[in-house]
């Protein structure tokens, strides 16, 4: 197939856009799509420095790259999760990306803050992904606020948003549907604006962009993602997409236009402040502090049992 823009040989085919692109034209197309998304949804301006949550994966590094290419000022925040070799590689690739471009990178080492993800999961009997998500949201929000950034950007792509929407609809999670939006304005003094500039871009396009831009990202999957329900939803959506190109984009865009406003009334009221850390909370303690408290309590119990010779 020929490139839609320059008629040279196409190197990537985008069925949902009914187009093929050569490498340079695809890069331009991708960048323009992101620019259009940022402007249409008034995510941020060039006057604001954006904090990008970066994991070392293709989406977050592609996001950081494209924001810089579009002329935005962007620093990164990385959470070292402590999930063995996977996290070591993730941190190394994130640091290498930042160093190569002389970018500001703020790193939080979870083990130094409270406990690494495996420990959080072990001492709370919760799935590792739940503990990981709670820790990530807490520290990204905290660092954005404490470092004075007006906006936090994450690399959630169209596949992520469509899968999340499908999960919320399948279980009619109306509170979640009320706040599923690519721009979340702060509802607490310690929240900053949260945006998803890639939300209209498919995971395939993000991967191709990262590949074409020569971004060295983590290819291996997190070991805790085996059997993740999100993968089941993504697989179902990709089967629909293969049969009807454009399904994912229509699903998300039409939800935002026609569906999401209907759920707005289901949104929870504004959060209070956590009694321990001051971050937003829907109880006396925020979800992260409750998690940490539980780990500390169970560690103490385990320590006492060991000391008394028990198991």
């Amino acid at each position: 197939m020929k490139c839609k823009r320059c008629r040279d040989k196409g190197e990537v085919v985008l069925r949902h856009h009914n187009a093929a692109f050569c490498r340079p034209c695809f890069i331009l197309f991708f960048q323009r799509q992101v620019q259009r998304t940022i402007e249409k949804h008034q995510m941020f301006t060039t006057a604001e420095e954006v904090l990008v949550a970066v994991s070392g994966g293709k989406d977050s590094l592609a996001l950081w790259d494209v924001l810089l290419e579009l002329g935005y000022r962007a620093a990164g925040v990385h959470l070292a999760l402590g999930i063995g070799e996977y996290s070591r590689v993730s941190t190394a690739k994130t640091e290498a990306f930042a160093a190569r471009r002389n970018l500001r990178l703020l790193t939080v080492v979870l083990e130094e803050e409270a406990a690494a993800v495996p420990t959080l999961a072990q001492f709370t009997n919760r799935p590792a992904c739940a503990a990981c998500g709670t820790a990530k949201r807490h520290h990204f929000d905290r660092v954005a606020y404490e470092s004075g950034f007006p906006v936090l950007a994450t690399g959630h792509n169209l596949d992520d948003e469509a899968a999340r929407l499908m999960a919320n609809v399948m279980r009619w999670q109306v509170h979640h549907l009320a706040k599923q939006h690519p721009v979340l304005q702060p509802v607490h003094t310690r929240f900053v604006r949260k945006v998803k500039p890639l939300f209209r871009i498919s995971e395939y396009e993000t991967a191709v962009y990262a590949f074409f831009r020569g971004i060295d990202y983590v290819i291996d999957e997190c070991p805790n993602s085996v059997g993740a329900t999100q993968l089941a939803y993504k697989d179902a959506l990709n089967r629909l997409e293969a049969a009807m190109p454009g399904t994912k984009l229509t699903f998300v865009q039409e939800f935002l236009r026609a569906g999401q406003p209907a759920f707005a009334a289901e949104a929870e009221g504004p959060p209070q402040s956590c009694a321990r850390c001051g971050m937003p909370a829907y109880a006396s303690l925020c979800a992260y502090c409750r998690l940490v408290n539980e780990v500390e309590r169970r560690r103490e119990q385990a320590g006492r049992r060991l000391a008394s010779g028990g198991h």
Binding site: E11, V12, F211, I219, A228
Partner: protein, 64 residues
Amino acid sequence: MRITLLPQHTHIEIEGRKRVADVLRHLGLLPGTVMVIRGDGLVTDDEFVEADEAIEIRNVISGG
């Protein structure tokens, strides 16, 4: 052709010259869920891979 699958880090051999779309179908892979890489470039579904070539099929769908 020799195929490297990532992130599985496995290798398989398929006989003969085949269109990329047919290779993906043979492996049960959906288009738009993998990049097919030959050398330092991507190969589109309508292109052929020769019997003596090596390609990488890299999954792009992440679990979180």
